[in-house]
Amino acid sequence: MTAAILKHEKFGTALPAAAPAVVVAPPAPAAGDDDAPPVRRQTPLVEKYGDEIAAFFRAAIPVVFGLAMFAAVWSMLAAHSTLPGPLKTFHSAVGIFSDPFYRKGPNDQGIGWNILMSLGRVGIGFGMAAIIGIPMGFMIGRFRFLSGMMSPIISLLRPVSPLAWLPIGLLVFKAANPAAIWVIFISSIWPMIVNTAVGVREVPQDYLNVAKVLNLSEWKVFTRILFPASLPFVLTGIRLSIGVAWLVIVAAEMLTGGVGIGFWVWDEWNNLNVEHIIIAIFVVGIVGLLLEQMLMLLARRFEYR
């Protein structure tokens, strides 16, 4: 209740009035060399972008408040425990990111390498899952028999915790790196299969009727109707899969070792370097966020209505 009021009263009304003031200020110094034009230029600028700037601030200010609150709580916790505070962590992060790509040996490499190695594993595991999972989803969605055949298997295997697959990977591949990729593969394939199949099944009957009255070939039905109609579902599946893959990689690498962000966390724990662990948490969060945002952008390009 109070939060809603706060939002409407403080931000909703105060900002549109305040925002133009921000816009008017910057052109002012230019007024020195030419008196009239800046004035003429100013007004349209405010009119043109005033709303957008107001909207930006309306969106940005709560975010700033949120982050500030987070930092405050973190500082308080740090003050009463051994946890490093935001400032200390920030300085440590500056140190780490000033040289992200150093190599001092197999187990001591820059944060950049660790991130790239993890992304590489995710890329391979997820990529293979997409190559197999998406066509499989299409088949399952299109053919009732296949759906009946695969449903029990999928229902059985899907809830299995990702790391439970690690021993199987280690057993089969006899190496840590392929085993980690295998875990990514097997845990990220399910959302793609399931969402693609649902997408194909949810293709509006109207579109399929068009295909029927025109007697379109199965290939045309696929390329012109099934694929575009289910693409938003497929992209949702991909987005969920990437999320799962990125969640799992940290845990998998903690167990398998090697170079990677998950192993790095474990290594820093062994060194009792808590700042680095916190930095790693941020890095994992930010990379995950970026992956998600990239796919959201991609998905938005395929919205038709």
Partner: protein, 263 residues
């Protein structure tokens, strides 16, 4: 007039989770070549079901369906269908939507340029040449419906099947499209079977109005011959006593003989 579309002793029973549902019972109808027939009846009586049977989208439980001397076995390009909700594919432009149909029917025998020319000709027929490269969501409801009609006509079907094509449009747009449909059909001399629930639309457009009884087990209650001369002009008809007489007959059927119990 030659019997071009034949519907003989058609029964249609749907299997539903709650048992079987007899939608149509003993339907007999013949449509001559170049004839414009409308199906009218209360909502849910089975108009779409009958149209979909002729389209080949449904399979009858009993009886025979014939189009141009051949038994109807599934959908085919000899019948062009216009759906109630246009059913354009939203990821294709208007031209691409039509091209998909044209390519399917003439792709084997004609060059790409010829197919493109057919596409544009179909769009011009509904006066939408300028909207060729627009997506369906960028044009109005009336325009979408016109593209739907252009798509159905582009394959040069022997029979045009329309299921309440103007049902979702406002009155003015609907009147405009009815006039346009009259002109197009006069030009292409198409055989048309059209579903409507609009009495004025039925009288204005049809040669015959097929009036259906209420379901379940709906059948043809009566048929009205519309002997108004063509070309018809909606303004002139307002003062035409024959028009009002025909209109009265349809209304009488719908609201006295087939009065719908308050739903």
């Amino acid at each position: 007039m030659e019997k071009f579309v034949l519907v003989e002793n058609i029964d249609m029973t749907f299997k539903t989770p709650r048992g079987s549902f007899v939608a149509l019972k003993d339907i007999n109808l013949s449509i001559g070549e170049g004839e414009f027939v409308t199906l009218i009846g209360h909502s849910g009586c089975g108009k779409s079901t009958l149209l979909n049977l002729v389209a080949g989208l449904l399979v009858q439980t009993a009886g025979v369906l014939i189009c141009a001397g051949r038994e109807i076995a599934g959908p085919g390009p000899d019948r062009g269908v216009v759906f109630q909700n246009h059913s354009l594919l939203p990821w294709l432009t208007c031209a691409e939507n039509i091209y998909l149909a044209v390519e399917r029917v003439f792709g084997a025998t004609e060059s790409k340029a010829q197919l493109k020319a057919r596409t544009l000709k179909a769009l011009d027929l509904v006066q939408l040449g300028h909207a060729a490269d627009k997506r369906p969501n960028e044009i109005s409801g009336g325009m979408k419906q016109r593209v739907g009609i252009a798509r159905a006509l582009s394959i040069e079907p022997k029979v045009l099947l329309l299921d309440e094509p103007f049902g979702a449009l406002d009155a003015l747009t609907r009147a405009h499209l009815q006039d346009e449909l009259l002109k197009i059909v006069a030009k292409t001399k198409s055989t048309v079977l059209m579903v409507t629930h609009d009495v004025d639309e039925a009288v204005l457009l049809s040669d015959r109005i097929v009036m259906m009884t209420n379901g379940p087990a709906a059948t043809i209650g009566d048929i009205v011959n519309v002997d108004l001369p063509r070309p018809r002009d909606r303004l002139a008809l307002v003062n035409d006593s024959r028009y009002h007489h025909l209109r009265g007959r349809v209304l009488e059927f719908l609201y006295q003989k087939q009065m719908r119990p308050a739903a």
